[in-house]
């Protein structure tokens, strides 16, 4: 570690991020909520998939991936609500902020830990892929692109979930705030919502505007159709980066 400078090399920066990431990931598995969360996610996602699978009789995972944004609206906030709110309630926020780490390292460490946990939970759906492979020859390219989209989507939901958690020390407020964010980003892409909003102000075409510029739906749908579209990847990466940056800013503000 440098003695008289606040500048960090890339290695030092990511070494700090890794320290926070390891602690956070361990904390997820230390609490029973992680196992409850994983179980609820897998039961809901797999049961809805199986229902659609037996009704349609097609070797594809589309029903699972189409439902995923709606499942994540309450499930991701349930995962992120404790992240910062609990640090503030337990006063460990002060401990973190007086360690020789930049707030950006702590924010990124927390974000990557939550992303890793989400990824592990998502891996729990792989038996569906194994089952489809056992039954026939599903389109693996389509499945891979859809999983990639699911990771991008989860990463975005986690970024605004953590941002919401950083704004309050009340976990319920953090949950409600992040769920509202989720509703806005998902429902603004729903056909009926777009129609209603367009109808309210036909000259402004608000519904279409929100669908094209704000909603995750058009970007996420590209992945579920088997396309790894650069604009969709950029949308998710930039939106996630924006909320991670906002999270960092909100923490810095607390020093004043």
């Amino acid at each position: 570690m440098p003695e008289q400078t606040d500048r960090l090399s890339v290695r030092e920066f990511f070494s700090g991020v890794y320290v926070v990431l390891s602690r956070e990931l361990e904390a997820y598995f230390d609490a029973p909520i992680a196992y409850i969360y994983a179980s609820v996610f897998l039961v809901l996602s797999c049961s809805t998939f199986m229902n659609a699978f037996f009704l349609n009789g097609v070797l594809e995972m589309a029903p699972f991936f189409e439902l995923l944004p709606y499942l994540l609206i309450p499930l991701i906030p349930a995962m992120t609500m404790r992240s910062w709110a609990e640090e503030r309630a337990q006063h460990t926020f002060e401990l973190l902020m007086t360690l020789p780490l930049r707030s950006g390292q702590i924010v990124l460490g927390k974000y990557l830990a939550s992303l890793a946990f989400y990824f592990i939970v998502l891996l729990g759906t792989l038996p569906i892929v194994v089952m489809l492979l056992w039954l026939g020859s599903p389109d693996l390219g389509l499945i891979f692109a859809s999983y990639f989209g699911a990771v991008m989507l989860g990463g975005f939901f986690l970024a605004f979930g953590l941002f919401a958690s950083g704004l309050t020390q009340d976990q319920i407020v953090a949950f409600v705030l992040a769920t509202l964010f989720g509703f806005v980003f998902v429902l603004s892409g729903h056909d009926k919502v777009v129609e209603i909003l367009d109808g309210l102000a036909p000259t402004w075409q608000l519904g279409t505007f929100f669908y094209e510029s704000l909603s995750i739906v058009p970007h996420y749908t590209a992945f579920t159709q088997g396309l790894i579209d650069v604009s969709a990847v950029l949308y998710f990466l930039l939106m996630s980066a924006f909320f991670i940056w906002m999270n960092d800013l909100s923490l810095k503000r607390s020093k004043f």
């Binding site: 440098p2 960090l8 361990e26 609490a31 006063h91 002060e94 401990l95 007086t98 360690l99």
Partner: protein, 245 residues
């Protein structure tokens, strides 16, 4: 080693610390005493870089806390008054985390861990979760986390909170053993504790500095008995309240 120059801190419209200046040098244990809400914790939080001063300058080893917070934090061991610990973590894992976050690794981390475990007497409950430990033991874990990188500056906010009388005595011995080449600043509202431990006392009330010096000097200034910090403290606080009125 620490220079505090005309520092004030506002919380909205409330002035928590007002125009405070002092300097701290190594080989001293400095007691920071004042009633609850006097501004002790706020001052310590600013020294630890958790809060930024609204006015004035704080230099730690000639580094401004606003411009060089990371460098300052590397030199400081800070135990907040709330004893912030991750309740679900095991004590040993918590200390390892604090060590790694402070850039320790390998043999150095192992050596420092063994050192803090020994001096803070953590062996009996080292592998317990923090939530399963007593208040006094948690306080010792907090102290160990502040010492893990063997810092030249130790800032302790109400460090004996939750200690039984024997633990208080052990804590006094520990601080005395640590004071060589180190600045130790601890806050307390228990006058007897400050009197028993400190080489020098800083007294504040309502965010203002009322007195700063060794007990004999403060006694001379106030005309109070030499070893009676309680009388000195009461005299200074009453005097300040008369001035404020």
């Amino acid at each position: 080693m620490i220079k505090v120059q005309s520092v004030s801190k506002w919380y909205g419209t409330v002035k928590a610390v007002e125009d405070i200046s002092f300097q701290l040098s190594p080989n001293e244990i400095i007691g920071f005493v004042g009633p609850n809400g006097a501004g002790k914790s706020t001052m310590l939080k600013m020294l630890a870089t958790y809060l930024l001063p609204s006015e004035g300058t704080i230099l730690v080893t000639d580094l401004n806390v606003v411009d060089h917070p990371l460098s300052v934090r590397r030199k400081i061991g800070y135990l907040s008054g709330d004893t912030p610990l991750y309740q679900a973590m095991r004590a040993d894992k918590f200390l390892t985390f604090c060590g790694k976050a402070r850039g320790l690794a390998g043999a150095e981390l192992k050596k420092n861990l063994e050192w803090v475990i020994e001096i803070c007497g953590l062996s009996p409950h080292l592998y317990k979760r923090v939530s399963q430990c007593s208040t006094g033991f948690r306080q010792r874990i907090g102290l160990a986390s502040a010492l893990i990188h063997n810092p030249p500056i130790l800032l302790l906010d109400e460090p004996t909170h939750g200690f039984d009388p024997m633990q208080v005595l052990a804590f006094r011995e520990l601080l005395q053993s640590l004071k060589d080449n180190r600045v130790i600043l601890f806050s307390s509202h228990i006058i007897q504790e400050v009197s028993a431990l400190s080489d020098r006392v800083i007294i504040i009330n309502n965010g203002k500095l009322l007195g700063d010096g060794r007990l004999p000097d403060l006694a001379k200034q106030t005309g109070q008995p030499e070893n009676d910090l309680e009388a000195i403290f009461t005299h200074l606080v009453r005097q300040s309240e008369v001035v404020n009125a």
